[in-house]
Amino acid sequence: MTDKAHILSRAFEDRIFVGVAAAVALAAVVVALFPGLSGYRVNIAGQLACFALLALSLDLIWGYAGILSLGHGLFFAIGGYVIGMHLLEHAVATTGVTPDIVQFMGWKALPDWWGPLESFPVALVAALGVSFAVAFVFGWVSFRSRVGGVYFAIITQALVYVAMLLMFRNDTGFGGNNGMTGFQTIFGAPFQTPGVAKGLAATSLLVLFAALVACRLLMIGRFGRLLVATRDDETRLRSLGYETLRLKLGVWCLSAVLAAIAGLLYVPQVGIINPRVLSPELSLEIAVWCAIGGRGRLAGAVIGAVLVNAIKFSLSATMPELWPFVLAGLVILVALIFPNGLLDIGRWRPTWISRPDVLQPGDAKP
């Protein structure tokens, strides 16, 4: 690629980022203020924002640092379960009604140690703290032993699978295969109150916007460049005096915390959390969203997550059996035409006309 094409494609990516961030902010305003939107649409917008945030979190670690996690559902679930516990405690405190989980778990009441989670700030700190701690321990052990690439991906996949099996057991104490549901109130307001769905969706969109801007600032700065350097040649970076363990651990923990925030926002909007979010399929799908949108550009993750899930939502209402085929087709199409994701559209030239990056016979060597 020539100098000029490179600068053009960078400018294009900058514009895409600004466009995506602006669209997210606009969506937040529309969801919050526009009265004509159906509750269903508001809810869909909120869910999409959560998925986009989840994809964004994976993009930090995969797109920038080049470390693929196939277990990000774990952190999403940590956020989801903690807010689930908070909502159940809150339901008991505000309505006095015993939730179903108490009955099917054979308890007399919710476990005592859940009590403090009735306070939202405590629940928030717990969700962020637990996801951070799990990520830190797991990341420290893995990165210290220089586990990376496909091995890391497989181990994270195993981790989320183990977590799923654990949470499916009733004895683990989190509702087993039924999970947690029957949330009644949030911040004292019944979930049926018209403003609640809007508030949740608008909050999700705003958090997504803030995360986009913050991650962007972080990634165009020194930290982001060092992450890219780690991805390109970690040995080289180490031999220039950088402790790459710290860099990788830092972005890994940040990514985990963002995923937990996504889970925290998601569960109140769908009204349920169960071990299915820990299934390897979800964790794999997050990577697919990033790959389809384009890795290492933040905006790509958002575009991928929103696009794939919007198609999924519209198809599952009409032709659910078609979904796997559509997803597979989309993956193949992107892999064939835009190996770096849909954001490559900016630098795309039809490959059957000329491939400037491939030497043709008779071309001078570069």
Partner: protein, 236 residues
């Protein structure tokens, strides 16, 4: 003159293969030392152990007569002032030329640092390419960029693994001028290279390795005349 790198009774093994066998050698400040020898002689392994990429089985390596390198991490070694250019040009392809050199310098990028980066880019002849992505550079330019990345921090020990591999004659000449310019009383330069004419132009002394041991140490002219060196490496 103090010793920059002192290697004592160093043995490195990969499984049952002994890459370096009870090797001892001293490299002084102010000199450019070439390490030559046939493939598998242990040249790159020696650089790997000095820079902390590979671990020694026994023996030790002292830097500046105090820091024991066989126990330090790669990052510690680099920060202490021992830097290395790899055999295959290793640059951060998705970052700009300037970013690459700034990362090599480390620390906060203030006006002083920026000036130093500019000067280094000037020295290696890449000032005009500062804004380009490193991945777009030609092979020779990548070699120079990598030299810039290690030189910008003004290392006390500079190791160059095959700096002219794959370069044209003209590029080789520029590289040898560059290396001569990098010579300083406060710095030791270690060059691993197969191009003997190049070695002759840059090196003060050569160490010929063979099967993990020192076969010869002295000037390149005497190495060319040494019967054992001619036998195992240079050929008749």
């Amino acid at each position: 003159m103090t010793v920059a790198i002192l290697v004592e009774a160093l043995t490195v093994e990969f499984g049952r293969f002994r890459a370096i066998d009870d090797l001892s050698l001293a490299i002084d400040y102010g000199e450019v030392r070439a390490v030559i020898g046939p493939n598998g002689a242990g040249k790159t392994t020696l650089l790997d152990v000095i820079s902390g990429v590979s671990r020694a089985k026994t023996g030790r390596i002292l830097f500046d007569e105090k820091l024991e390198l066989t126990r330090a991490s790669e990052a510690q070694i680099a920060r202490s002032g021992v830097r290395r250019k790899f055999q295959k040009p290793s640059v951060f392809e998705a970052l700009t030329v300037r970013d690459n050199v700034e990362i090599g310098l480390g620390g906060a990028i203030d006006a002083v640092a920026r000036e130093r980066v500019d000067k280094t880019l000037e020295t290696v002849g890449l000032a005009a390419e500062a804004g380009r992505l490193a991945g777009e550079l030609a092979h020779g330019q990548k070699q120079w960029l990598e030299i810039a990345m290690v030189v910008v921090s003004e290392p006390k020990v500079l190791m160059l693994d095959e700096p002219v591999a794959g370069l044209t004659d003209e590029e080789t000449e520029r590289t040898s001028a560059l290396i001569r310019a990098l010579k300083s009383p406060e710095r030791a330069v270690i060059v691993v290279e197969h191009d003997m004419d190049f070695v002759e132009t840059v090196a003060d002394r050569v160490t010929v390795l063979h099967e993990g041991r020192t076969l010869f140490e002295g000037s390149m002219a005497r190495a060319r005349a040494d019967a054992r060196v001619v036998d195992v490496y240079l050929g008749r």
